[in-house]
């Protein structure tokens, strides 16, 4: 317990808590993953306590992706309707991409651009009060993926995968020589030589499992070297063919880190937003 004037806090930063655990008295600010009841701030999730000044929040260890305006996400086309595509964005809420985003005012056959089963990198343009999601393709690096593999991680672990200023994800990209695009909805696209794709997949899965622990960066580095030590091909490695989608990777890492998500949530218990690049653990 820490006593600072009148405020009382019952937990420490990075402690794992569960729903119903009392975190602090109401002098603190109730952040994401918490709620106020009987003058106490209480956790609503299984997750890690994050204390920043007078703000207490809980970063969940497991969660669904809830779309927010401004997010960049990876989605799959599941349906073609009149003047729009329907996409699965790994969320309880599906998204729509209007045909006008691709064709402007022209009337075209939608399947000429994107078909069911195609995977795209998109921006969340708007989310209404009942969570109907509008997606868009206007922006650098957005568009359809060709080749590669897809990996799913818990959306709240995306900042951990990216790392401080992209350190973690860049290490993976450099060592495996793969293109990697991380959607804020927890979907990751990796493309490179097939055995390198698998190395990246193993590493990303490890980060997913151990995101709540410390010392992860070193373990990831060790795992990479171990896997690559076995996998290292002959001295010269052919450059992977650059397709038109490769520009996505470099630019989007920057966009993910630098953009601030807008305050759109009304139904959040606390009205608090997750900051971009916020780490699950330092």
């Amino acid at each position: 317990m820490h006593l600072g004037g009148q405020s009382v806090i019952f937990v420490e930063d990075k402690e794992i808590v569960i729903p119903g655990d009392i975190l602090a008295d109401e002098d603190y600010h109730a952040g994401r993953g918490t709620f106020k009841e009987n003058n106490k701030i209480t956790s609503s999730l299984v997750g890690l306590v994050a204390i920043r000044d007078k703000n207490i929040s809980v970063i969940p260890l497991q969660s669904k992706y809830i779309p927010k305006r401004g997010d960049v996400v990876i989605g799959e086309i599941t349906d073609i309707r009149f003047s729009m595509w329907n996409l699965d964005i790994n969320s309880p809420y599906s998204g729509i991409l209007p045909a006008s985003d691709v064709f402007g005012k022209e009337k075209r056959d939608l399947s000429k651009a994107f078909n069911v089963g195609d995977v795209l990198f998109l921006r969340v343009v708007d989310v209404d009060e009942v969570k109907k999601v509008k997606l868009g393709l206007k922006g650098r690096g957005l568009g359809k993926f060709r080749g590669g593999i897809l990996i799913n991680i818990t959306p709240t672990k995306v900042p951990r995968l990216i790392g401080k200023k992209g350190s973690m994800i860049n290490m993976i990209k450099d060592e495996t020589r793969c293109e990697v695009t991380v959607g804020q909805n927890g979907v990751v696209w990796v493309k490179g030589k097939p055995d390198m794709e698998r190395v990246a997949e193993k590493v990303i899965n490890m980060i997913e499992e151990q995101a709540h622990t410390s010392g992860l960066t070193d373990r990831v580095r060790n795992m990479l070297f171990e896997l690559l030590g076995k996998e290292k091909p002959l001295e010269k490695q052919e450059e992977t063919e650059e397709t038109e989608e490769t520009e996505e990777t470099e630019e989007t890492e920057e966009t993910e880190e630098t953009e601030e998500t807008e305050e759109t949530e009304e139904t959040e218990e606390t009205g608090e937003e997750e900051e971009d690049g916020e780490e699950l653990i330092q």
Binding site: D118, G148, L150, R198
Partner: protein, 265 residues
């Protein structure tokens, strides 16, 4: 609700197979990790929990005394039922068995019946009137590809594990003695092995992703002596005759290895 497989995944798996590899690093004829425990449900007279990879099925047997089928008055009865529980996959819905569930139970039943796994002759209590009916219930808890092989492997284990009370006739009455439990007469351990056709190749024990993109599959039931007791082709695309013959010849070695997982009784 049908899941739509991304084209990227379909291509990636197919290209790997064409290069002789699989997305989880297995060889073409290699099974994922298999675990098999028996006697896990005490209320069931026989039970087994089988896992192949993450696919998990809980199997229980319940014997009951009843009437034989009219066309086979001198043998006992085996009834197989399966539940693809809604917990096992996001697209499994609660309700009566759908076509996948019905196929699973009928294929499992066919393999066990045609191979003569259970000696149904020994399950007669009063000829033409009272026989043992063995209910075999497959409770699919987690679906991660290849239900058929898991179902058959687990069913054989559950049947081997099954004990039924001894019965005798005294003064025209049937005495069912729960204090004398005897093993269910199991005389054959047939098993099934399933191949998926992807990129023109046949691979064994398809994972969930492999099953979702495969062109077709074939499951072969093989007896201990190597003879075929059941076959089932699945999937919307055709197989060639050579592919079927290849699958049959491979399945003989493979089921031998699978059989090592069964408890020795």
């Amino acid at each position: 609700m049908v899941t739509i497989i991304p084209e990227i995944i379909r291509e990636s798996i197919t290209n790997l197979v064409k290069n002789g590899e699989r997305s989880d690093g297995r060889a073409f004829y290699e099974y994922r990790g298999i675990s098999l425990e028996t006697g896990v449900i005490e209320k069931a007279e026989g039970s087994a929990r089988v896992k192949i990879g993450n696919t998990q099925i809980m199997i229980g047997t319940k014997p009951q005394i009843g009437e034989p089928f009219p066309d086979t008055p001198n043998v006992g009865v085996l009834m197989t039922n399966s539940e693809l529980l809604p917990m096992a996959a996001p697209d499994f819905e609660p309700g009566p068995p759908d076509e996948r569930s019905v196929e699973l139970s009928r294929v499992t039943d066919r393999c066990i019946r045609e191979a003569g796994v259970v000696d149904l002759d020994k399950l007669v209590i009063i000829e033409g009137e009272k026989v043992w009916m063995i209910f075999l219930d497959l409770h699919v808890l987690d679906y991660d590809g290849n239900l058929i092989d898991a179902a058959v492997l687990g069913s054989i284990a559950a049947l081997i594990n099954t004990k039924i009370p001894e019965t005798r006739i005294e003064d025209g009455e049937i005495i069912v003695d729960h204090e004398k439990m005897i093993s269910l007469p199991v005389k054959e351990k047939a098993l099934m092995t399933t191949f998926a056709k992807i990129g023109g190749e046949l691979i064994v024990d398809p994972s969930l992703e492999e099953e979702q993109i495969m062109d077709a599959r074939i499951s072969i039931g093989i007896r201990e002596d190597g003879s075929i007791c059941a076959m089932q082709k699945g999937g919307a695309n055709p197989l060639t005759k050579e592919e079927v013959i290849m699958a049959i010849s491979k399945s003989q070695e493979i089921t031998k290895e699978l059989r090592e997982h069964l408890p020795k009784n």
